[in-house]
Structure formats: structure tokens, C-alpha cells
Amino acid sequence: MEQPGILLTAVNTTTPGMIGEYPLVELRGISKAFGHVQALQRVDFCVFPGEVVGLVGDNGAGKSTLIKIISGAYQPDSGTILMDGKPVTFHSPRDAMMMGIATVYQNLALVDQRDVAANIFLGREPTKGIVIDRRRMVEESVQVLQQLRSDIPSVEVPVGLLSGGQRQAVAIARAVHQAAARLVIMDEPVAALGIEESRKVLRLIKQLKAQGRAVIVISHNLEHVFSVADRIVVLRRGRLAGVRRREETNAAEIVRLIVGAEHL
């Protein structure tokens, strides 16, 4: 009944340089219900190293549930999660983080009064004896932000004084720095941003890809999705509505998949 091979093969043959490699994360036949609301029904999904996947769908399509399963916040009712081809179980976001999966939350989860370095290391401050190793925090924060080509003026500025895009960069830097994240999940990273700021965040996503990390981006803005995603995964009412490579599709087709072809 489950045919994980089809999706896998389809992707493998169309993703250059990935032939023969396992997906970084693969979901097979994932189902999840809340009460009698079936949020996800036998959904297959995969993301390869160095690949950007755009996850789209209408409100209530199951996007958030899907990424919360990948990030360990929810446990699926049935189905399998594989990392590097091996089955894994995440009991908490911490488990997923240990495996290199980092999530950038929509509200960014930053402490406005604290500076950039303190936010990047929030909850994981390095110490020398009992004293926080502030120098290391500053140096590594500068490093990770430089990798992201971020335009943050200083790592010693309180994040409350930064622009929306810069705050996003801090949140992404934290995600990247945590356990040298292999997969970064971003929930609506540009929803609250202006045009210029959005562009910077999209550039950050490309930067992550260039570093060999995988990225899953949830967005309602198809233009943004098309500008960064290698593959677009569409969910509708908890089911997989379609998977398309960016070059082989267009916005109209994705919209049809999102709302269901019968409605057009």
C-alpha cells in the first residue's frame, strides 16, 4: 500500500548529484490526528542535503503539523521517520536538535533586551569554570553571522533594536549554530517583513543551501517560494497534493494543487 520508493526514485533521478544518496530526512506514511480532526493522512515527504524544499498549502492543510513532527514537537500516530536512511524517533524538539534539525519559530523566540550574541547562545551559553565565556560567544556569533552574510551592525546590540530581517537573521544564526544544524526549518520567515528585508532573508536561505544544509520553508508567498525552493511540496487537507520541481512547474499549477483542481 505504501509506496515510498516512487517518491524517492522520482526525486533521486531529478536531483543532480544526489543519486544513490539517502534523503537527509524522509517521512513515510505519516498520519496524525487531533481528536477526530485528521491533520495528516499517510503523507510522504523527503528533503536532501543542500536542498531547499518549499512547503505550501492552504490554512489547515497540515503544514505546521508536518514540520512539528519533523522538529520533534509532535509525535506521529503512524508512519516512519528516517534520517540518512535509518529509522529515528523524536520524543522532543531536543531529540531532533541533537540530530541536527533546528527550527526557526514564526515569533522568532528572541529576548529583545539581550544582545545578539546572548540570543544566539540562549540556553547554551559556553562557560569557563562557572563564568560565561563571553569572548567565545562573541567570536562564534560573528562567525556564524558572517557566514550568513548578515548586515547586523554588531553582536553586542540588543535584538530589540534590530529590524525585522536582522531579527530573522539572529534566529536563523541560532538555528544554524545549534549542533551545526543540517536541516533548518523555517515557518513563514518573511511573513512580517518588507520587500528589502524579505530579499535578505531569502538570500540567507540560499546561503544555508550553499553551505550544504537542507532547508524547509513554509510560506504563503509563492513568489518567494519559487525564488528559493528546489522542490515544492503541496499539502491539501492533510494529504500530499503534489510534489514539483521548481523548473517543471509554475505558480498556476501550484495554486491549482493548493486549492484542488476541481475548484478551478
Binding site: 529576548v111 529583545d112 540562549l122 562557560t127 560565561i132 553582536v155 551545526a180 543540517r182 550544504g212
Partner: protein, 364 residues
């Protein structure tokens, strides 16, 4: 794979790599990637001045200096060493409790029961020594532990049951005031220790006949508190807890426990404060500490720690306590009516916050 990522994420020699990632990074670099500074603002004298202005403690520091100069000009008695040491002693007990309250405020909680804990523990301490014949040091240890236990109750009820600490500690304020009256029968409890008993000397004597030991207690407590707050992970988590609790929880910080510990620190410091006062008076009064919470909270707030948490410092609290101490002292020296003191204190509190708010608005 993971090793590869680590190498990529920490290039030893940027620009020397031969793989794809480095090539792309180089390309972006040549496209004019912005330079990242490790420090905020310009360096040098101008930078230092800007850093000073940006300091949270700036307002209270200026207030302290201005007040000191004004009082020195108004009365020549004020700037004399004896008088300065007197002010230092007078603010010591307040500043010690205010250190704990600073921790609490930064983590986003409040404790209104501090005056009552302080008074209640004074009665308990005196009773243990006078009525039950305890060694004073053992009694002090017991009282500090009791203070921490009271703080544990405050913190647990607040964090586990989600009741605002304002309400929980308001209840504790009443309970412990009643407790102090019940335990003492409403009468002072006197301890009979020899004049040269080390307990009296260490809690309220003088070092080389000049500097009150209470001042050293204050410096010790505040230095330790300032160190923990600014240099340790715990301190960092206190700021995060009050700054954005949700973010702190997502980052794996146990915010309930952080807050509870802060209530415990505050309670334990009330125990130390009670011992310093008992050493000074050799009497414990059941009404000691009534209304004291307001003075302590005033010191913390004047010091630049906001009521809603996330920011603040022990240095600020010290300066806040110093401002309050100088006002009380100055009014006495100037021969003003004692009834005027609360008016002056209240005005200073509002003025301090006003100035701070105006400066902050212009800065952001």
C-alpha cells in the same frame, strides 16, 4: 557529514578553500558583504561616552552624583567620612534585601513579603538565641534556611499554580506579620549576649573602629550578586526568563525553577538582614520591616530595573539605595521635618523613572 559541516562553518583560512561552498562565499564576499563589528558604536573617547549614555544605570548614576554635590554644598557636614560611613551603614540592610529583589524583578516577579520575612525572621532568630539557647551562628543558619524555605513557598505557589506573585506575596506579607506577632506575643524579644560577643561584632561592629561591618556585608552580598547576574549562566537565564519567558522555555531554560530560586535567594537574604539588625539592636521587634518592602522596591526601581523584567543590574540597585540613603540623611542634616522624608522619597522615585523614560525614548 557533520564533520564536513563543522569545517565549513568555521573556516580556518577564508578564501583558501577550493570547494564549491567557498567559491560561492567568495563570490558573495566580493559582492560587498557588510562588515560585522564585534562592539557597538564607535571606539575611543566618543565610544566610551556613548557607552556611558547607553548604560541603564546612567540616570541613577547622574542622580547619585548630583545629589552628592548638592548636599555637600548645602551642608558641610554631609561629605565628611563619618557621615558617609553612616549613610553606608544605613543603606546596608536595605541594599542586601534589594539584591535579591533585583534578581526577582529581572526574572519578572515581585515579592511584597520581604518586609514581613525580615521582621518574622528577626523574631525567630532572637527567640532561638534568647529562649532556646541556640548558638547565634547556628540560629543564623537556621533563619537563612527558613528564609529560603519561605521563598520556596512563594516561588512554588507562583510558578506551579500560575498565581501572580503580587497576590501570593501579599498573602505571605500578612501571614508572616501575624506570625511575628504570634511568636513574640507582640513584645520585643531581647538577646543577652556579652558586649564583645563575636556575633555582635561581626554583624554590627566596626572594622578598625571606623567602618561598620554591615557595609562589608553589603559589599560582599552585592559583589556576589552582581557576579552571578552578569557572569554566570544562571544570571543569563534570569535575564532571559524575564525578557521573554516563552523564548527562554523554547531554549530549554527551566523558568519556573529560575524564578523559584530567586524567591529563595530573596528570602535567605532577609535572614541575613535580620541578623545584622538584631546584632545592632540586640532586640527584635515584631513590627520591624512594616512598610519596608516599599523602600526596597523603590531602591531597585530607582536603580533602573523595570518592574516587568528582562533588564537591570545590582550596580543600579546599589546606586538606588544610595540615593534613598542620602535623601534621608541630607534631610536630617538640613533640619527638615521628618514628615517631609516620605514626600521627598516619593518625588525622587517618580523623577528617576521619568528621566529614565525620557532618555530611553530619545535613544531608541
Amino acid at each position: 557529514m557533520e564533520q564536513d559541516l563543522r569545517q565549513n562553518s568555521q573556516p580556518e583560512a577564508p578564501g583558501c578553500g577550493t570547494n564549491n561552498v567557498d567559491a560561492i562565499l567568495d563570490e558573495l564576499e566580493s559582492a560587498g558583504a557588510p562588515e560585522l563589528l564585534t562592539r557597538a558604536g564607535p571606539r575611543g573617547l566618543r565610544g566610551s561616552l556613548q557607552a556611558l549614555l547607553r548604560m541603564r544605570e546612567f540616570s541613577v548614576l547622574s542622580a547619585t552624583i548630583l545629589l552628592f554635590i548638592a548636599l555637600s554644598l548645602a551642608t558641610p557636614l554631609f561629605p565628611q567620612l563619618d557621615n558617609i560611613l553612616l549613610v553606608a551603614r544605613q543603606i546596608s540592610i536595605l541594599a542586601i534585601i534589594a539584591t535579591g529583589v533585583t534578581f526577582l524583578f529581572i526574572s519578572g516577579e515581585i515579592d511584597l513579603s520581604i518586609g514581613s520575612i525580615y521582621g518574622f525572621l528577626g523574631i525567630v532568630l532572637a527567640s532561638l538565641i534568647a529562649k532556646f539557647g541556640f548558638n547565634p551562628w547556628l540560629a543564623l543558619l537556621i533563619v537563612v534556611i527558613m528564609g529560603a524555605a519561605i521563598g520556596f513557598v512563594n516561588g512554588t505557589v507562583t510558578t506551579r499554580f500560575g498565581i501572580p506573585s503580587f497576590i501570593v506575596t501579599l498573602g505571605m506579607l500578612s501571614i508572616l506579620r501575624g506570625g511575628a506577632l504570634l511568636a513574640s506575643g507582640g513584645w520585643p524579644v531581647m538577646i543577652k549576649l556579652a558586649r564583645d560577643d563575636p556575633f555582635l561584632n561581626i554583624t554590627s561592629g566596626h572594622v578598625s573602629g571606623l567602618v561598620p561591618t554591615q557595609v562589608f556585608w553589603m559589599i560582599g552580598v552585592m559583589a556576589l550578586g552582581g557576579f552571578v547576574l552578569s557572569k554566570t549562566r544562571f544570571g543569563s537565564h534570569v535575564y532571559a526568563t524575564g525578557g521573554n519567558q516563552e523564548a527562554a522555555i523554547l531554549a530549554g531554560i527551566n523558568t519556573k525553577w529560575i524564578k523559584t530560586i530567586n524567591f529563595m535567594i530573596t528570602g535567605a537574604l532577609c535572614g541575613i538582614a535580620a541578623a545584622l539588625l538584631l546584632g545592632q539592636h540586640r532586640n527584635a521587634f515584631p513590627l520591624t520591616g512594616t512598610g519596608y518592602e516599599l523602600d526596597i522596591i523603590a531602591a531597585v526601581v530607582i536603580g533602573g530595573t523595570p518592574l516587568f523584567g528582562g533588564a537591570g543590574s545590582i550596580l543600579g540597585t546599589f546606586l538606588g539605595a544610595a540615593v534613598l540613603g542620602m535623601i534621608t540623611n541630607g534631610l536630617v542634616l538640613l533640619g527638615a521635618s521628618a514628615y517631609f522624608e516620605p514626600v521627598a522619597k516619593g518625588s525622587i522615585i517618580v523623577a528617576a523613572i521619568l528621566v529614565d523614560t525620557l532618555i530611553r525614548k530619545r535613544r531608541v
